[in-house]
């Protein structure tokens, strides 16, 4: 078996076994439901604009599982083995980010069309929102690896992490939310789509190198 594929499947298995898949998905559902229910009680109908709640919930639930990306491997020495292996650290980071995306962002995205119905968004628009998320969420997964690497071995990392990782999601969130809102109003701005794709690809391109540098800092 190809070693890269083996590592990828190992990562996916590890994160599904650790119940983080179930927890982050349920967190997503709970946040969206709580927001919608409480808004309805105050007479504010959850409408097309509340698609922003969807994105914020997605970013928050991605944050929940961030500190697990490297922490377990760092504790049990798997990361040492990765450092010594002939496969470059950057490749490992890419595989980890892909595994994080598959186990955290993908399930939430699959739930999106169902959640959109509760907000009064029609099915056609929800498919467009799914496309926007498809563009944006890989960048969120890749940026998450930076945060996970920065707080390796820190006891207080679950408090420290959101403080500097949530602001780095901003470019993706600004574009994602605005485009999703436009899409629900049947406005399709192809320029914005392309720029968001560019930002997403830029983040994906630079983060493996940054994360690898940060991990090497922990081992010097």
């Amino acid at each position: 078996m190809n070693p890269l594929l083996y590592i990828l499947s190992y990562e996916i298995k590890a994160s599904t076994a650790g119940r983080s898949l179930f927890l982050s998905t349920s967190f997503f559902i709970i946040v969206v439901l709580t927001a919608n229910i409480s808004m309805n009680q105050f007479g504010i109908r959850a409408d097309k604009n509340s698609v922003s709640i969807l994105w914020i919930a997605l970013a928050m639930s991605a944050l929940l599982s961030i500190n697990m990306i490297f922490q377990n491997d760092y504790d049990d020495g798997t990361l040492d083995w990765f450092m010594l292996s002939p496969i470059s650290l950057e490749t490992i980071v890419i595989l980890k980010a892909v595994a994080h995306w598959v186990t955290t962002c993908l399930p939430m995205m699959l739930l999106t069309p169902i959640v959109c119905v509760s907000m009064g968004i029609n099915f056609n628009s929800s498919l467009w929102i799914l496309l926007v998320m498809m563009i944006g969420t890989p960048a969120i997964s890749f940026i998450s690896t930076i945060g996970s690497a920065l707080t390796l071995g820190e006891r207080a990392n679950h408090l420290l992490l959101p403080i500097f990782i949530l602001p780095t999601f901003l470019p993706i969130l600004v574009f994602g939310i605005k485009i999703s809102m436009l899409v629900t109003n049947s406005v399709y701005d192809s320029m914005a789509f392309l720029i968001m794709l560019a930002i997403s690809l830029f983040c994906i391109a630079i983060t493996p190198f940054i994360t690898a540098i940060i991990i090497k800092v922990h081992y010097t």
Binding site: F164, P167, T168, L170, P171, F175, I213, I214
Partner: protein, 244 residues
């Protein structure tokens, strides 16, 4: 490097830095007090009111210098962090660490004065205009940088992490800024004191503003020297204690 050559890298020696700082601090303090009091008195009491904004224009004597510092302190931290990563000078890292709270305060001052000014002029304390959003973004990255220092003990590893965080922060702060500008062109007036634009404010306001700017910059340098000296002393104390 030559023994007798006088260059910027002399500051990299902590002992030399402290002795130079000790000499500079009194002069800088005098410069700060003089230029700030002269600039603000001149600006507040001896300039005419703006024909559109009335007396509210007098807030620019603190708003513009603090906003100028807020952005430039982050750039200074970025440069200091890069110097630390390349040349491993502890003073550079400690200067970046010492500058962050000053930058945070200046960002808060700029936001506060802007909000108070905005209420009578724009009719609102806060609007998500690109320039104000940029300051909110800047505030978040300052908080992130300070929190990584407050959460961990000082050592070289944390120094590397904070320097990397500073670089990552500047990349994402710029990205966020332009993402915001893409959607929202904003209601701020054009630059009020750049050198290449014609729509600069008139000399009546410009000269006292320059004096205030000088005052704020020397305030920054005074505080920076004191804080960096403090950080160097903390480092020396801990290393002396560790030798026992």
């Amino acid at each position: 490097m030559h023994k007798n050559s006088r260059s910027l890298w002399e500051f990299a020696n902590p002992k030399r830095f402290v002795s130079i700082a000790n000499k500079l601090i009194p002069w800088l303090t005098i410069c700060t007090v003089l230029s700030m009091s002269v600039g603000i008195f001149w600006g507040v009491f001896f300039t005419p009111n703006d024909y559109r904004q009335g007396a509210a224009v007098k807030i620019i004597y603190i708003h513009v210098p603090s906003a100028f510092l807020a952005i430039n302190i982050y750039i200074m931290m970025l440069i200091a962090s890069v110097i630390w990563l390349i040349r491993r000078h502890h003073v550079s890292l400690l200067a970046a660490k010492a500058a962050a709270p000053i930058g945070l305060t200046m960002t808060l001052v700029a936001i506060l004065t802007g909000a108070i000014w905005g209420k009578p002029i724009w009719g609102t304390y806060w609007a998500w205009d690109p320039r104000m959003t940029s300051f909110a973004i800047l505030l978040m990255f300052y908080i992130g940088y300070i929190s990584i220092w407050s959460a961990m003990e000082y050592n070289e590893k944390v120094g590397d992490l904070s320097a990397l965080l500073c670089i990552i922060g500047s990349i994402f702060a710029l990205l966020s800024r332009y993402a915001v500008i893409f959607w929202n062109q904003g209601l701020h007036q054009g630059a009020s004191m750049s050198l290449d634009k014609e729509e600069n404010i008139s000399n009546v306001f410009y000269l006292p503003l320059l004096v205030c700017l000088l005052g704020f910059v020397s305030l920054f340098f005074t505080l920076l020297l004191i804080r960096t000296r403090t950080e160097i002393r903390i480092k020396r104390t801990t290393s002396l204690l560790r030798m026992n």
